[in-house]
Symmetry: C2
């Protein structure tokens, strides 16, 4: 008899036994059917990428979360993919320029992310990307409507899609006459909805800040709810880029309303998630009883040009395991 | 404008565009439907494993083909899985002992293997494992019949399943009165069907080798074809273990014949693939026009006990991309 090593798994990965696997398969196939109905075609991207190639398209928050090794044959640093979206951007920019736009692509893959403390997490994802010549509220609306339809298809009842717009926030923050550091402090205070910190930063820095901008910033946390928050925000800004964002958002909400899906939607104009990565509408899905998002995404019009193909794009991905957890908790 | 790194992929991985991805999905779902019909339940295993845990259950040929890194938080060596079967063995031995035997499990995952020259290959696999208290010809037959049925279901016409039996060969080689090195040389000559080398090794080493054993070995390459090769082999050996293997194989062939599937089968008693890993029947699927196997598997009764649960097992996996290539070439 040989002495056996302690049989355990690296932290952050796990086995999925038949009962759970069956639920995952059901959720995946329901979602993929909806994606297919909307004309999304599946691509399969590789497990490995060169870090320098992947880095072109990774948000800062992901760069530290990549498992890497040095490829002995080339000396280049190789990553296990932490995200599929930059891979899709690379594939489209390098191999799919002959395809007519808009391109509707989807995927169903595993990614690996450092979680801190030396832990990784393997995440099963199903996502969709809509790549077009120019951004449009129709594309933004299609993604949100499709996400809701997919959740309804798999039978999830108690969920909300939170919609924000970092394009709006970027316009508002961009016009403030403050330095880069203070702008970051302001953004961070907004991120955690800390209005008293925000007020003191504005008091300290903001001699030249216009009264309506100040009022808008201090009210951001209240721009949470239904359609009327867009009007409230609009009444407080005259910045043309901010106005354009709000007008785009209004059209998206109109499209969602037309599909009678507004019950599933909340607007949150104070949300700054992915501020440096996204360029317009962002959204996340939450289900009752599950602390983590079941899906997240948004518009990222700057990504494809980093791979040399200047297209607009919006997309989102389900975290399959969180979605299955949500299904478990449905009444 | 930033200077872009040369956008390329690490060797051995690739993008799969929508046209091919659609074919893959069709092949995968056809195969999984057949697996499901036979009662196989899907499990999902992790991308990463500790090397020492995985090594318990890896054949020697795989050990050098594993991509590894050192986990900074534990100092343990972590592998990207090169094979799913040892993972299934670990899962069953550590987490599924309460499940009644036989256990029918299947999977649909990506693995990563070094190919030499610093290249890797990402392989998309769909496989099935049948785990039982004891080996049986019924289990062996079920796997072969299910493999054939899956290939027919996805519409592949021109294919063959080559069936061998390393249990038979091990019995024959085991009784030779030669040393370990010479036994390895004999096995290697059989592997490449080099009868003249085999003859000279036997001449050199084989003073004590019985005449019937010698004749059997020199005729191994001719034990290729239909059912009658089992009788030919049987007439040349009196070794009880070899006889038992041939009797098991006869029953498997009977079951395949009963299903009228013998047209899809060839017997090859000279096949030694996976000699150190498999314990009984081995089989591989080949399609016209595709040089590489589209599926391979066999009985591996020694694997689960290495994880502390002494079960018998047989299984096989499709190489999904090779299978899709075979579909492309069908008439």
């Amino acid at each position: 008899m040989t002495i056996q090593p302690f049989i355990s798994l690296p932290q952050g990965v796990r086995d999925i036994l038949p009962e759970e696997s069956k639920k995952i398969r059901k959720v995946e196939s329901g979602i993929l059917q909806v994606f297919e109905k909307y004309g999304f075609k599946k691509v399969i991207t590789p497990l490995l990428e060169y870090v320098e190639v992947l880095s072109l398209g990774m948000g800062e928050n992901l760069k530290d979360r990549v498992l890497k090794y040095i490829d002995p044959s080339t000396g280049r640093v190789v990553a296990i993919r932490p995200d599929i979206t930059p891979q899709i951007a690379r594939v489209v920019a390098t191999r799919m320029r002959d395809y007519p736009l808009p391109l509707r692509l989807c995927y169903n893959e595993n990614v690996l992310r450092h979680q801190g403390d030396g832990k990784n997490r393997e995440v099963l994802q199903i996502g969709a990307e809509y790549i077009s010549a120019a951004p449009s509220p129709e594309a933004d609306a299609e993604m949100i409507i499709m996400a809701i339809e997919a959740l309804k298809r798999i039978g999830l009842k108690d969920f909300k899609i939170d919609i924000g717009d970092v394009g709006f926030l970027r316009a508002v923050l961009g016009r403030l006459p403050v330095n880069v550091e203070d702008r970051a402090l302001i953004k961070d205070a907004i991120a955690i909805k800390d209005t008293s910190s925000l007020e003191s930063i504005l008091k300290r820095t903001g001699k030249g800040i216009r009264k309506d901008d100040r009022e808008l910033l201090l009210n951001l946390a209240t721009f949470y709810g239904e359609e009327e928050v867009i009007k409230k925000a609009s009444s407080l800004t005259r910045d043309p880029a901010a106005k354009r964002s709000l007008s785009n958002l209004t059209q998206v909400i109109k499209a969602v309303t037309k599909k009678r899906l507004m019950d599933s939607v909340t607007i949150d104009l104070g949300e700054v998630r992915g501020f440096d990565y996204y360029t317009g509408i962002i959204f996340e899905g939450f289900a009752s009883g599950v602390g983590k998002p079941i899906l997240s995404g948004g518009r990222y019009d700057n990504l494809l040009e980093k791979y040399g193909y200047g297209c607009a794009a919006t997309g989102f991905a389900f975290d399959v395991e969180n979605t299955v957890s949500a299904m478990e908790r449905k009444i």
